[in-house]
Amino acid sequence: MMEDEEDLINAPSASEDEDDDKRHAKLLDAISGLGGKKVNKRSQRTVPTNQVSEFNFTAATDDTKVKLHELVGTLKTSAKHGSLKNQLNRVQNQKVLSVPLPKHQKEKIEREVAYKNTSKEVSKWDSVVNSNRQAEQLQFPLQKSEVHLLNTTGKFKQLKPRTPLELEIAAVLSGNSDVLPTENNELTPAEERALAAMDLEEAKERRAELQKFRALMSYKEAKAKRQKRIKSKKYHRVLKKEKLKHEKKALEELEKNDPAAYQEKVEDVERQRIEERMSLKHRGGSKYSKKQMLYAKYDDQARQKVQDMLQTSRQLTQKSVAVSDSEDDEEEAMDSEDEMIERELSSLSSNPWMKVAAQPVAKSEFSRPEVVLNSEGKEEEESDSECDEDEDVLMKMGRELEKRQKKPVHAHLVEEEMEKIIQKQGDQRQEKEKSVKASGKGVKNSQNQKNKTQNMKKAAPKVEENIDEIFQKLEDKAPDDRKKVEENVKRDTENKKKKKRRRGKKKMEDQDNEAENAEDMNDAPLISEGLKRKKTLDDLEEDEEEEESISGRSSMMAKRETEITNNGSFTEDSPNPKEEVFVDPKKLFTLETKISDIANPEVTGRDGEEEESDGEEAQRSIIAQAFADDDVIDEFVKEKNAIVDRDKPTDIDLFLPGWGAWGGESVKVSKKKRKKFIIKAPEGPPRKDKRLGNVIISEKKDKAISKHQVNDLPFPYVTVEQYEQAIRAPIGKTWNPETAVKELVKPKIITKLGGIIQPISKADVFKKDSKKRKPDMGFQNKSADTKHKKRKH
């Protein structure tokens, strides 16, 4: 490698040097020629002779250099000058190194070459890297080690007996007939012998027996396991009881058979009793029992637990052994028994009370021991009192529970008050409802559905009359300035409205454009933009008339027809100057609606009062209704305007009064000057509710959510839209079936826990490559790979 490099380096430079020399000589010639002096040239002998004058030798010029081999050539033939020949040979073989390049140049060249080589080397891995990148999933370690099952024979073959003990055992085993001689054999020699000796039926029997035993054992095991796992308290209680029963029986037997052991047992029980009475563990002595008592107020389970505890404490504190033949015994016997117990107790060194008490019993009247060592009846009394205490606790809880249940009964007393309160609060609401009900006042209560529509029709004219009256009254009061405003606004919005109109109505509109303009609405501009149809009060009237003419319930089609006719009538009636002013606001909401053929059941209050409400009230409500819209719309428009103004970017006013001009109170500043100093704010983006007259959409940015949003465009995406599209589909279980979820959330990399991840071995990859086979590691996307290559070239 290095030699090659040197060759590469030297070869061109050497030739260059030669060229340079030649040129240099030529140049010298030319310069010498310039001087005009003749340089005596060497004469060239053309005739070859043997005698060469020795004076005629000149220094060899460049083109006629004497070469070594020319001089030495003759030496080859002669046998003399052996040492000279050797020397010459040595000289010839010695290579003369050319002058090394300057260091920086050399390094540069080295780097270049090194880069080329490494990139060539590394680029071999391109396909592997690409395929790994594009793989949907990589499982590490990539090279799967061969899996083979370990069998015991193979494992044990490795083991060889070493210690003397092992050697001994091995010797025994090898000679034993109970060991399998080879792997292939199914039976040991001993077994074979036994089989041979055994009768077939006998063998079968024996096998069956063995099987039975095995089965029984497994059953028992399973049962024990199952029982151990059972959580039911009831079951365990029953189990415990059974156990106790058995113990009792055992005790009885013990009494008969082994009195000493029996005595021991009795003592044990007695100790338990004493401990219980000392600690009162089950009667509020322990933290647990205290807590349970507290919970027992509310919790049934806790109550049960408390009861259980009391039960156990009672059981423990019972004089179990002494009682055994208790009440029928005579007093003497009791005395003797008492003494016996005393003795027993006194022997219990653990109880200091007992020690003290044991002796004075007979003589002194010290009360405490008496209580402790009381006779049967007293003890029972005591326990009774204890029971009473327990019951007291329970009773208390019970009472409290009862109280809770009784509460509703007490509630009846408060009921009236409550009703009053509720009525007060509900008043507001009722008033609202009244207005509604009043509107349907004309409608009489009846169950027949057919009557309903007729009733409705009757009601309608009344409403008309009312409205007419209202308008008559209002007409006089109507403020004039309002009209002006209306007209102004109207002019602006005219064009917009025209566009909004339905095509079907266009013709009619053209005809009565003027009329319409005259009676156009005031605050309509903003709000009407969002709404569909426009009608006047007349339309409603017409509607109702039409309805009257149509008998029965009209179908949808019929309704549509009425609407169309309405429009016709609207054109005719509109020029009427009377209605002009007042009709407008109503159009927006109350009258534009489509009245569908909904079978309207009449409103029937349970009490007749509401039905009887007189016409005046109805009228009032209608008035309120008729002009409610007015205020509502006005207010809304105002509000919207205010908000629009608020959200507008504000201009910056840099005007300073008195600067560059006269200032003072009465000095007027020209508008032009002022305008100069106002920097207009750029117009923001159009509001979202620009086209919706009846909607205000907040332009305030909700900053809270940005915490959860993505701020920068993630890696492979080019545009925001692309990214948003890519994450459009949810991947959760809630939205996708299980199979899809598994696929969607497949991890990119799977590593075996604890498995060593070796770097990809070169040999593995390229060996397979050379064989023109897909390597077994992450080359899943070969087609993509090739594509990539193509692209590269």
Partner: protein
């Protein structure tokens, strides 16, 4: 009906071996998976397909294509698994010339099977009315509350009572919380939370005198409104206030939630409906819906349509994606109560009449689907989820009405399971808490979370620019206490002032230094261009050129 390709090929091979088999069996006539209808697929398609033409790198492009494939696969699987939804919703088909409007509850009860017939019942509770009723999210339990304090929770199918209490106060509204273990009751002054045994767990003293409650199950938020115009959100999982807005819109006694984006809709006496999120302290949207006071608002389960009714005796359907009116109907009187069912049927209570409209959003109504008349005024309506039942609370108690086709036929047990066991309920509770959506994600556009926060880039730049102004650190210094006679209070204060002043001076000094340095650099740069700053009088100097 899947036809596995593997099986087919095997069959083919078998056939190939047997030359006598009939030729028609040699080829599978329906190879591959059963096709999924495109219409069905479009139901699960979420937006347009990804435009994968460009990506930053080649392997990035490959990834995008892979991902898109997976998404298509998911859509296909989802569409395919629709076969598993075996249940169909109930329905009534009227004969020619008849309409379902005239069908009464008794007719249905007579015609229906026993289990269905049992779902129509009436609880006569004349003492403590008028009643409000609400079902749990899985439709298994019912909560009723009389305005005079009677509150009862029950398993309404078996009629097993969970608890029955009298809170001895006016009850304004009730709401189940995330499960049947807890419910909130808006009482006379405060809102209380009880467990399913009627034990008081919490007393929420904010807001005062709540009028309406609304529970957002995915966010664990209890929204309540009151008469003074306050709207209040409480996170019931941690018991903390999330937000409280003063709407300034008067008494808020009309409220409902948009189940799609958890935005609260309020109806106002000014005829407008406003939508609120806890993150913005002004209405997200305010729309003028009626010429008079709004009496009730309801949003359909898809969150696309809203129904409003007002005192002006109108019922209007709005498309709340575009905020435009879709339909407007004159109804006999203003509906005081409206509610949507899972299938999009609209229940409407006006006076003593309950009307149900089928699919009022997408079609023009001509007549109600069903009508039921009560003796007293309706006080509350709620459709039972996963059942064809409409619960009506009224002055005389509670009535359960059968409305065929009102409930969703197929339930998703992962979402809400009507047949939940106790253990499952507990599991579900934990799951719900783990899946709790943060409050910040409540937004009018529920897909906002999937969008890139583009504006914030500009904002970040602005914020960065603002950092120029250094704020002096606030210094809190507590002077050392000295023994009596050693230092007076005045001295102490003086010392304190001194330290604070010194600190401030230090920061100011630093600031000045920084600025000077900056200025020096700036001058150096500028000095090359302009030799000297021009004073006012420089113009009179003689110039050399």
């Amino acid at each position: 009906m899947k036809h596995g390709p593997k099986q087919d090929s095997k069959a083919n091979r078998d056939e190939g071996r047997d030359p006598e088999s009939p030729s028609e069996f040699r080829k599978d006539r329906y190879p591959g998976d059963a096709p999924v209808p495109k219409k069905l697929m479009s139901k699960y398609q979420r937006g347009k397909k990804l435009h994968t033409k460009g990506a930053r790198t080649h392997h990035g492009h490959v990834k995008l294509v892979q991902n898109e494939k997976k998404v298509t696969m998911a859509v296909k699987q989802a569409a395919r698994s629709e076969r598993l939804l075996q249940e169909q919703s109930g329905f009534m088909i009227p004969e020619d010339g008849e309409s379902t409007t005239n069908v009464t509850q008794s007719d249905i009860v007579q015609a229906a099977d026993i289990t269905t017939a049992q779902k129509h019942f009436n609880l006569e509770l004349t003492q403590f009315g008028p009643y409000k009723a609400q079902y749990t999210r899985n439709g298994k339990h019912l909560l009723i509350a009389g305005s005079k304090g009677h509150v009862a929770a029950l398993d309404w199918l078996t009629k097993r009572l969970l608890c029955e209490i009298n809170v001895m106060e006016t009850v304004r509204d009730i709401r189940w919380l995330h499960q049947e273990t807890m419910f909130a009751v808006a009482q006379k002054q405060w809102t209380y939370i009880y467990d399913n045994q009627g034990i008081e767990l919490h007393c929420l003293k904010q807001p005062n005198e709540a009028l309406r409650l609304e529970f957002l199950p995915y966010h664990f938020l209890l929204a309540s409104s009151n008469a003074t115009g306050y709207l209040y959100w409480l996170d019931v999982s941690v018991g903390q206030k999330v937000a409280s807005h003063n709407t300034g819109l008067g008494r808020l006694d009309v409220m409902c939630q948009n189940p799609q984006n958890a935005v609260i809709c309020l109806g106002h006496p000014t005829g407008s409906v406003s939508m609120w999120s806890p993150n913005v302290n002004e209405p997200l949207v305010k729309m003028l819906c009626h010429g008079a006071a709004v009496r009730s608002v309801a949003v359909d389960p898809t969150g696309n349509y809203m129904a409003t009714s007002g005192v002006d005796r109108k019922m209007k359907i709005w498309d709340i994606r575009k905020f435009e009116m879709v339909h407007s109907y004159q109804i006999g009187c203003g509906a005081g109560h409206m509610v949507f069912s899972q299938t999009g049927a609209l229940g409407l209570g006006k006076g003593n009449i309950v009307e149900v409209y089928q699919d009022p959003c997408r079609q023009q109504l001509t007549s109600p689907y069903m009508i039921h008349k009560l003796k007293t005024t309706v006080n509350n309506l709620h459709f039972c989820p996963y059942e064809d039942v409409l619960g009506v609370g009224h002055g005389d108690g509670f009535t359960s009405l059968i409305i065929p086709g009102a409930g969703e036929a197929n339930f998703d047990a992962m979402e809400s399971n009507p047949y939940q066991t106790k253990k499952q309920r507990r599991e579900a509770e934990v799951q719900m808490l783990l899946d709790k959506i943060p409050v910040e994600m409540i937004h009018l556009d529920s897909k906002m979370i999937g969008k890139v926060d583009m504006k914030s880039f500009v904002e970040r730049v602005e914020e960065n620019n603002k950092i120029h102004f250094k704020k002096p650190m606030s210094i809190s210094y507590e002077p050392k206490h000295k023994m009596k006679g050693k230092g007076s209070g005045r001295k102490k204060e003086q010392r304190k002032r001194g330290v604070i002043e010194e600190g401030r001076r230090q920061t100011v000094k630093e600031l000045v230094k920084d600025k000077l340095q900056e200025g020096a650099q700036g001058r150096k740069e500028s000095s090359t261009a302009v030799s000297k700053s021009k004073g006012v009088l420089d113009r009179f100097k003689k110039t050399e050129t």
